[in-house]
């Protein structure tokens, strides 16, 4: 299977190169990045081909592409790939607005390509074990689900993670998205309402996005 990577705005892009190389049936044919310096540097480091633009990469005979751009730039790249009939693994969250997310899903449906969101928690061995036990009925009916996802301020990996326009928000957009996905996956039904509170006490002087949320 021939696969490429679009953009290294997300630092997971480099990890994907190594994961793809570890899969014997996959061939990484190259990468493209609107930040040419960054893309060329990474292509050189990992000894893969650097395509001059996304169009060149997407028409190079790919079957699949991994999109690692900033969150608000996923949509045009998804559309480019879908229109070329290339299946997509897109970093999470797939968009920064519901409108873009809806358009992304619809576009891939119409194009008949596979679209997958990068939710690695669904592949975590302990999380899968809990899912299996839930499905087996070991816990009976589920009445309540209490979860948290905490971490460091991610700006040391990429500055845009804490920029509202590019990332879509702060802690909620980056972290809550995982928990909400696990809840839907575990429980098997959709969310009907939400209540949330956020604040901006941690790293108040460094960033403008929310850094605490419940």
């Amino acid at each position: 299977m021939k696969v490429g990577i679009m953009s290294f705005a997300h630092h997971h892009g480099e990890a994907y190169i190594q994961s793809l190389r570890a899969a014997p049936e996959v061939e990484l044919i190259g990468v493209a990045d609107e930040d040419k310096d960054r893309g060329q540097r990474i292509a050189h480091q990992y000894e893969t081909h650097f395509f001059q633009n996304y169009e060149e990469l997407i028409t190079a005979g790919l079957e699949g592409v991994i999109i690692c751009s900033e969150n608000n730039k996923h949509r045009p790249l998804v559309e480019l790939a879908a229109d070329a009939g290339v299946s997509i693994l897109c970093e999470k969250p797939i968009a920064t607005t519901f409108e873009d997310a809806r358009a992304i899903v619809d576009n891939c449906d119409q194009a008949g390509v596979l679209l997958m969101t990068a939710f690695p928690m669904r592949f975590s061995t302990p999380l899968v074990e809990v899912k299996n036990r839930l499905d087996a009925g070991d816990f009976g009916d589920i009445y309540c689900f209490n979860a948290s996802n905490q971490g460091e301020l991610p700006n040391k990996y990429r500055e845009w993670f804490v920029e509202k326009t590019l990332a879509g928000g702060g802690a909620v957009m980056d972290h809550t998205v995982h928990l909400v996905d696990i809840m839907r996956w575990y429980l098997g039904y959709e969310v009907t309402e939400i209540y949330a509170q956020t604040n901006h006490i941690f790293h108040a002087d460094e960033v403008d996005v929310e850094t605490g949320s419940l």
Partner: protein, 336 residues
């Protein structure tokens, strides 16, 4: 100092033991019936009184360990008789009652000490001190949890009667509402959910509440009447802009009880958390109350704190019923 204890359930027993560690004398006891009070009175060489009013005449301080819905009348009567009062949490079943009780005690110049015992648990007290000392900077997000089994009294299980106890949000989670307010300041709004709202026949209950404090800090409070007996576990996480405090009771418990018997016979009706390596926090609390009663040096928990905690719990109950966040209006008693 002559102490009279009203109520001889698990809290009356616990407080009696704590008073016996002070120089106060347990003079009298009163319960729903004379027979009920006899064993504990015998143990502490106290006289059993036929009713609360009669006992009040012979004592200096009354310690009210009765079910929550009975606190109001007893406190009002004791205040009218000029007696100092120790009252178990929750101070009262409603904000209206609690406000009246605080006012009555002020007018009568009697002390009203509320048993928010979590403030006396060494780990909770240390975490509070660390925050006050500025060790973690400005508190931003608190996550507090408290989990045990559902109280299982054989007769008259008032805990499960919302009219009497207020349910899990009032009876159990008030501990952490009070603690969150103590650490992070006055509360602006509360949103809460409890399992029993949608599943009244469930054999467990579980509550989640989100508090927004006036200074912008957030608190997440989880309470469980859902674990197998004799579990009682608590967790503290206080995140500040300069650090994090964490405590997990499981990690520090020297003894883990994993018992194979039925749910009766080897666990008390109501579980109490413990700190096996130090003085019982209930004893620490009563000792401080004893000093306060003698010297009028303020205890770490005031009557107004007891009132404010009832206000948060009541707002949480209202939120769980209406499915909406509920604002907390500043109480004149607390803010004056």
């Amino acid at each position: 100092m002559r102490i009279g204890i009203a109520g001889v359930g698990f809290m009356g027993i616990t407080h009696s033991h704590a008073w016996s560690e002070t120089s106060a004398q347990i003079t009298g006891m009163v319960a729903a019936s004379v027979e009920e009070a006899k064993p504990l009175a015998f143990q502490y060489d106290a006289r059993v009184y036929p009713d609360f009013t009669t006992m009040l005449k012979d004592i200096d301080v009354v310690d009210i360990c009765t079910p929550t819905h009975l606190h109001y009348e007893m406190v009002m009567e004791a205040a009218a008789q000029g007696k100092d009062i120790v009252c178990e949490k929750p101070l009262a079943r409603t904000v209206e009652q609690a406000s009246e009780m605080v006012a009555a005690c002020r007018d009568a110049s009697v002390q009203l000490l509320v048993g928010h015992v979590v403030r006396y648990f060494p780990e909770y007290a240390l975490a509070k001190t660390s925050v006050e000392d500025g060790q973690i900077g400005r508190p931003g997000v608190l996550r507090l949890s408290r989990g045990s089994y559902r109280p299982k009294k054989t007769v008259g299980n008032w805990f499960l009667d919302e009219e009497k106890s207020g349910g899990i949000l009032m009876d159990l989670m008030i501990h952490d509402f009070d603690y969150a307010r103590w650490v992070a300041g006055e509360v602006e709004s509360v949103f809460a959910k409890i399992v029993s709202t949608g599943h009244p026949d469930a054999s467990i209950d579980y509550g989640l509440a989100i508090l927004r404090h006036r200074n912008g800090a957030l608190s997440h409070i989880a309470g469980a009447w859902a674990y197998p007996p004799p579990t009682f576990r608590t967790h503290i996480e206080i995140a500040g802009d300069a650090g994090l405090i964490e405590f997990d009771s499981d990690a520090s418990a020297p003894i883990q009880n994993l018992l194979l018997k039925s749910d009766r016979g080897n666990s008390p009706d109501v579980a109490l958390p413990s700190s096996p390596l130090s003085e019982s926090p209930y004893t620490t609390q009563i000792k401080e109350f004893y000093t306060t009663l003698q010297t009028r040096k303020p205890a770490r928990v005031s009557a107004e704190d007891g009132l404010a905690a009832v206000q948060i719990s009541q707002a949480a109950i209202h939120s769980a019923k209406t499915n909406k966040a509920v604002g907390i209006d500043p109480l004149p008693e607390v803010w004056s």
